[in-house]
């Protein structure tokens, strides 16, 4: 099964890199996109050094710790990231505004549970911008919320021993004040 990533930039004639996920799906992506995943880049560079003779052959890179679902989302995010960067090459402020806008829209379509998968995948791929963005997204979901709200939001349950949580709350009572209504 091939999962061709849609709408490659027509002006680009760069090499394609093939990524294979843990659930055996194959993604063919632009080199520029793949190189944002530092884990892939390292592997790719090393392969090239070891394999000078192989020339322009397409490389297949297995990603045993990444499933196809988060990878597809990360590729979309990465493409958009590069596109916004290219469109505003000479205006950092514009770029930040565009990026912020895109990220806000992006989060509307992501469930909290998906966010974990994305974080783990971005971490494994060592895709720094995405990891930073997802961590920021989680942080802002937590901001000014009660402990109960945070648990519910992320589907977590308290595993503290009886009394343990109360002790925490007592010790740092001031930090549990003034949170948003759940």
């Amino acid at each position: 099964m091939s999962n061709q990533s849609e709408s490659p930039n027509p002006t680009s004639s760069s090499n394609k890199i093939t990524l294979k996920t843990s659930d055996n799906e194959v993604f063919e992506v632009e080199e520029a996109v793949a190189m944002k995943f530092c884990t892939v880049k390292q592997y790719f560079d090393d392969e090239n050094n070891n394999n000078v003779t192989s020339g322009t052959s397409t490389t297949l890179i297995p990603l045993p710790n990444v499933e196809s679902h988060p990878l597809a989302i990360l590729i979309t995010y990465c493409k958009k990231h590069l596109e916004i960067k290219a469109n505003n090459a000479d205006n950092k402020k514009e770029m930040e505004i565009d990026m912020e806008h895109y990220e806000r829209e992006f989060l509307k379509n992501v469930m909290p549970q998906e966010l974990t998968e994305l974080i783990l995948a971005a971490n494994y791929l060592n895709f720094k911008e995405a990891l930073d963005f997802f961590c920021r997204a989680v942080a802002s979901a937590i901001q000014n919320k009660s402990v109960e709200y945070v648990r519910k939001f992320f589907g977590l349950e308290s595993d503290f021993k009886p009394g343990e949580e109360e002790k925490l709350r007592e010790e740092f009572a001031w930090s549990f004040e003034g949170v948003d209504e759940d």
Binding site: S22, T39, D46, S54, T116, N126, A139, F154, L156, W174
Partner: protein
């Protein structure tokens, strides 16, 4: 190309520069509690408030141990404003090395063990940091909640020194009356101290300006046509400083050439030097806040005709209409309050009796060196201003931080006159309502002869 699955996995792991995930098979329903510690830590570093770190730590065991894994937690600002009470508030505070903080959110007082602050003069600098100076004349930025500390160049690296020499204790108390940061000195992306942070101070006998950055060896003087500065604000990339007459000067920091402050707004009409000036960015505007004090030190004759609308003539055409006069039925009550007010003024050597807020408005006039004129502000909207021995700050009252809209929260920063008081300074604090001009209390008093209570925000 033929690579076996096993060898690839090994390779990928080898190239990974950061801690490797422990999970072997990604599961469909990933569990938030299974996030590796360092990712929970990355999330914590991106929180907006220090308080939220404890919320994260109270969610589950795994998150708690991540939150506890920091040698020092990230130095984030507190959610709501606190008053750091003066060092002498209670007997024994010095021995126990604690400082008391009053939380405006829950109106409770909390003691924090802070040996780092014993005997040191503190100034609030926003972003959760304090500027501290000891009798050793070392100057630090200190974040009391996380205990992060950044050493700044010591007092003797300022260009202008006192002549003749004075006691170090006096220098500690008086040498730097005000300090403002351009941003938090902590960079949450790199998790390091940030050289982009500019620390600007009013200093010395004649209260001039100097700046430094984390890692610099000395304070760098700023050339300016005035002196006796009262306050500084960082606004849209520039620093704005107001002097005792109310004239405002602006400068942009450039590390490669001499920084010169230029006059941008004139003295407001009708102000006097004894009226304390603050300058603060609030909801996109730059505001000049005038704090009028009475009391027997400020012999009332100094401002015989002081009235609320003293500044109405500053810019009549743009003036916002004052609200209707109070209704008659409250007259009696008001008279009583006035009596009380008069008594309060005559009993104390100084006490705050009113505030006036002016907005700097862009204005160009041929032949004038000033870029701004003043417009009187009668309503701060959703905003509350915090002034005193801190970088003046404006907060939005609707964002659950425990403050009331359209009010000015002030602490007693009249350190020059602490010695002139009967029981010490630290009593002249409260909340001034812009709506009806009335005063309310936030914390009774925090007496001391050398240490001021101040906003920790």
């Amino acid at each position: 190309m033929s690579l076996s699955f096993g060898s690839v996995q090994k390779k990928v792991l080898w190239y990974h520069t950061e801690p490797i995930l422990q999970h072997k098979q990604p599961t469909k329903m990933s569990n938030w509690a299974d996030l590796p510690h360092f990712i929970v830590c990355e999330i914590i570093c991106r929180l907006s408030f220090f308080d939220d770190i404890f919320v994260v730590g109270a969610v589950c065991k795994s998150w708690k141990s991540a939150a506890n894994s920091f040698e020092k937690p990230p130095p984030l600002p507190p959610k709501g404003p606190w008053i750091m009470l003066s060092e002498e508030r209670e007997q024994g505070n010095k021995e126990s090395q604690t400082r008391s903080f009053f939380n405006l959110l829950d109106t409770k007082t909390y003691d924090f063990k802070l040996p780092e602050l014993v005997g040191r003069k503190c100034l609030g600098t926003s972003f959760g940091w304090l500027l501290t100076i000891g009798a050793d004349l070392q100057i630090n930025l200190f974040h009391p909640l996380s205990k992060h500390l950044i050493s700044l160049p010591p007092q003797n690296t300022f260009c202008r020194q006192y002549t003749p020499e004075v006691e170090p204790e006096h220098l500690r108390n008086m040498f730097v009356p005000k300090c403002v940061l351009s941003r938090s000195p902590w960079n949450s992306v790199t998790n390091e101290y940030d050289r982009d942070c500019i620390i600007m101070a009013i200093y010395g006998e004649i209260r001039t300006l100097a700046f430094t950055r984390p890692g610099y060896k000395a304070w760098i003087d700023i050339e300016s046509p005035s002196r006796a500065y009262d306050d500084i604000a960082f606004y849209k990339g520039n620093f704005y400083a107001v002097d005792a007459h109310g004239e405002v000067f602006a400068c942009r920091i450039d590390d490669n050439q001499k920084v010169v402050a230029k006059a941008v707004a004139p003295r407001p009409k009708g102000t006097r030097d004894l009226i304390k000036k603050y300058i603060v960015e609030s909801a996109g505007d730059l505001l000049l806040v005038l704090r009028v004090r009475g009391g027997h030190y400020y012999s009332i004759e100094d401002y015989p005709n002081y009235e609320e609308d003293e500044f109405n003539n500053v810019d009549s055409e743009d003036d916002i209409e004052d609200e209707d006069a109070p209704e008659n039925e409250y007259e009696e009550e008001e008279e009583e309050e006035e009596e009380e007010e008069k008594k309060k003024i005559s009993d104390n050597s100084y006490v705050t009796v009113g505030f006036t807020v002016l907005k700097l408005k862009r204005f160009t006039q041929a032949g004038s060196k000033y870029k701004y004129k003043y417009v009187k502000v009668d309503n701060l909207g959703d905003r509350a201003l915090f002034v005193g021995d801190n970088s003046s700050v404006s907060l939005s009252a609707s964002s659950f931080n425990g403050c009331k809209a359209n009010c000015i929260y002030f602490t007693d920063d009249n350190i020059e006159l602490y010695e002139e008081t009967l029981y010490g300074g630290g009593y002249d604090m409260g909340v001034f309502s812009m709506k009806d001009g009335k005063f309310d209390k936030h914390y009774p008093e925090s007496f001391s002869y050398y240490s001021t209570p101040l906003w920790f925000i």
